[in-house]
Symmetry: D2
Subunit: 338 residues, 4 copies
């Protein structure tokens, strides 16, 4: 932690800062420069915060110099973590494409979708039973019934399932239905009570990035889960909010190399929600793999035009098949496989 | 709802769109322009969504022309709604300043703070028992004990209390402690399960704007509460996330006149969280009142430097007193009072 | 300047950094903490840049601790600078409202507008002869003829004029027409050649903030002007670009107290371009004055509906008169006058 | 163009709007829905603007339904345009990588760089003689001398050159030095006088996207160039400004498929400026090619650590060589070549 003093800071003000640092059990280093005096606090940074020093007289600003995430950081664990989803690895050389409809509708729809997911070569299936919708007057998902339909369909094809948990009170139901990979959605990235609950269970978790969450906040949200004991965390970028209005969100591809440097955990990409239109998905999916993503989360519906939700962003089964071929070629070009 | 067809759209594609509109029970109007054909769907817009039409062949784009919020809209209720908080009105000619510490620490701290809140002329008190913190390793609030301490302190001075609800499982406790005004925080603006729950109770709710929520999303989040039957909703702007790094967030003062036009519900401003530094609070608070805000939510701590949380953004009791005088003058200048 | 070394940095890497610092003529201070080593460079920071150190092996990051703007900084000049515009002061206790049409149209329109500006109590007039328009197919301004019309109209009422300079090649014409206050527009905030040119003349300059310029970049752009010798600079905030689509831009009121702390130069606000709609102007204008702005730049047109440009954001003369009264009351409330 | 009337609009207000439309020589279509009346203006949209209708009584909002760019639009020219740079095609099946140092320093540096550019397999060279720097106190480029050095070095290796034009007054010098591809930089994307000037010459132009320019604004900026007669325009995305602080800018990969749909002109990507760190460049470059970019603009310096400018974002010659191999594999995977 460093504390930069104002040019006009007095010796008394400098002493107050060093005394506060020492009271917290740290040593200090004082660097007297031409224009500023910089005080370094030597010891475990996590016990000190900028808030402790910023309001003190004579202080210009203070800042941590060590990042505040620990368990999820690359510094604490230098090799890549591979998360096992019922035998399917995420984070290794093999790239996983998780496909399926935006929302669970009927048993027939999910059975057909599961068959198509397998046929396309994907090894995991997604589907939403609980839907976070902007308007209270639109379809809110088929709920617990939908979850059972999904489990039944996926089991026929031995597919592990991925679905979103929105409410802590539904966690037991998710465990009863043995959801293989629990998704924490964009709007809940900083729902800290929900993060703490999934931190206490032994199930892999996909943590989607909040719409305007910084990389640091996202890593800290993962740290909430990890601090509870659950280290099976997969980051999922799904587009961030910017000024641009020509597409729903901006897929932040730069987060891939940056997360790979900052954390040992896998990173996947959701190109469907990022752009919001199915015709953008192939380009974004290819870019994600080329940039080093460990997997993709893609919306596919047996009949996109008739989907109950987000019908304009789902691929058809034929489009998914074509995309998988193309992704295979990209994966090979960078020494990986799909 | 209008559907704009591509320049190259065929008559068959136009027919498909009009048939889909008619199948939903609506009439159509076709406007054949020089470069585009625009199809209007005539009837209740809420049954149609752009997603239904955007993936159809020949469609360029489609859009609602009526806003999707109803109960909270000014169109549904043309006069200003005044929310009554145990006898204190919010939304009328009198402006309310809600002051108090960021977090509940001890009974002595809260007793002193309550006394200072009253002395400054404020009529409601704020305080956090459950704290949404970016890091799992920092102080998380004093919880239920803190809530009881707050209730006790406020009761001594007959102050209604405002505090944040983060977890649906805590709602009963909030009702037992008779929290007078329940705050839904920034990170939970789109926690739809939480919104539904506070929509079912008979308690006023402050709905803070999400860090990057649009005005339309914010109004729709309020509609979630209103749709459950609870119309006692107060909007609170607390700064939005932008590219600027010189201050924590950008206080969006423009939302005040815009919300006043779009909704009949009160609008208050939190200048403390917006800027993140106590020295910015007076200027932002004055601007908010001048722009037409119905109230303010301000952090004040008996001893800011020793606060357990956000110590750099709390006013001292003396600073709050001075600010109240200045706000009084501004309020008078626009024909209101504090 | 401080350089933070990676946890894994070797002594050789530390030595390379300190040698590079010494080679630039600076002393060093090394602070060996528990998790990081921080190297301080002692001496004139402006000779060092983070780019010099960031690519070196073992370096985690480096940063300036002193701000890079000098002449415009409050540190270099502690009292407020007052800029004199032909006898009208900007930056003192008296607040200046600069009003006039978006664009110069005809002599009759400008004569009438000038009369109305004076009648409303404003002391300076604005008007655009050269217009930066998004589309090449829309009205581009009346150019040099417009400038002469403006000068003629303003002279009749002894009003100093404010108008935008877009092209370095027009500077001589601006000097010939004796433009009293030259505006550098939003899109040219980092047109460094233009900034250098207005830095060489002896005329006051309004520097509008770029649509997504940080406070630091804005101050550095002003430093370009100041470094040339022209210190008569007025900052003008006119709304920043964010994710919000309900209004054109977000007026960043927080910049007022922040600039007042960082620089000695005056700060004015353009509420007309910020919101983009005339009905938003009064609330934003009042907020700006309440927050401490030294002036306003407001669009007023004799007949807004018939304006050739931005007709939806101009006030009518009657609306301007009403606003001036209300601003007067706000100004008095904070101990200033209009 | 459609004009949506308020629910409360009177017949007189509707008549005023239709009369204004007819006065402009257009027909009208009136669609009377359940909640709103929508008036369609039939005819050439470019003569009407929302500003003409938005301030009229009874109007809720109005909008264009046809995009305002013409020459650059895919609608006006359905096949891909290929721009020829002294025999090197951009926009065809072959992808072009333009490499070279951030800034021209010395003849020896540029000679060496040119040799390395050729050796890596690149066919065009970049280099900056005029540098847009945030601070007036940092290196501003070697100017006209630098331009000559660049021309000399590139000619030795028969490389077409790309360099940035910042000031209209330098255009003649650029033509004298026969710059093969003129770059309009990020900060000048809406420097309309500069755009008009390069619109009058017969030289290909790279138009970089403004830091917070929307796709629509960018296309309109290109339309400024095209409207002057110069249709040899190449779009270059270089990262947009967002809330994220972990990297300089966010590379907006989604713009590639979107521009490919909206315009017939080539699209290239600058991964060096986007991320701001050389270690991010390979991932971003691969993603860009995979997403369909027609080329890349990459910073390479013979000795990055000693570069006079942006030394932390330049690749070394060895890194460029490795990247080219990897890009070759990606290009083949999508049926293109490098």
């Amino acid at each position: 932690m460093i504390i930069v003093m104002k040019k006009t800071a007095t010796e008394e003000q400098i002493d107050s800062v060093t005394e506060k640092i020492k009271a917290a059990g740290h040593d200090t280093n004082i660097s007297r420069g031409t224009n500023r005096i910089v005080i370094g606090a030597i010891g475990d940074e996590s016990k000190l915060t900028p808030e402790m020093f910023d309001p003190m007289p004579g202080v210009e600003f203070s800042m941590h110099i060590v990042k505040q995430y620990k368990i999820v950081s690359r510094e604490s664990h230098t090799t890549n973590s591979i998360i096992d989803i019922r035998g399917i690895p995420i984070g290794g050389k093999q790239i996983q494409v998780i496909a399926g409809p935006c929302s669970v509708e009927t048993q027939a729809q999910m059975d057909l979708a599961a068959q198509q997911v397998v046929a396309s070569g994907c090894r995991l299936m997604r589907g939403g039973a609980f839907k976070p919708r902007t308007s209270p007057y639109t379809f809110q998902g088929t709920g617990v019934d939908g979850l059972k339909i999904f489990r039944t369909a996926a089991d026929k094809y031995h597919l592990p399932i991925v679905t979103e948990l929105m409410d802590v009170r539904m966690l037991d139901t998710f465990l009863e239905q043995d959801v293989d990979l629990i998704q924490i959605g964009t709007r809940n990235m900083q729902n800290f009570d929900l993060l703490k609950e999934v931190g206490r269970i032994n199930k892999p978790v996909i943590l989607k990035r909040g719409l305007s969450a910084t990389i640091a906040e996202w890593l800290m949200a993962a740290e909430y889960i990890a601090a509870g004991g659950n280290h099976q965390i997969i980051f999922c970028e799904r587009g961030i909010r910017t000024f641009e209005t020509a597409y729903r969100n901006v897929l932040d591809i730069t987060c891939i190399p940056v997360l790979k440097r900052e954390t040992h955990l896998p990173v996947i990409i959701d190109p469907s929600h990022a752009g919001g239109k199915s015709w953008m998905v192939p380009a974004l999916a290819r870019a994600a793999i080329a940039a080093g993503a460990d997997g993709l989360l893609i919306e596919m519906h047996p009949n996109p035009c008739e989907a109950w939700c987000d019908s304009d962003q789902a691929l058809s089964p034929q489009e998914l098949n074509q995309l998988m071929e193309s992704l295979n070629d990209i994966a090979r070009a960078i020494g990986r496989s799909i």
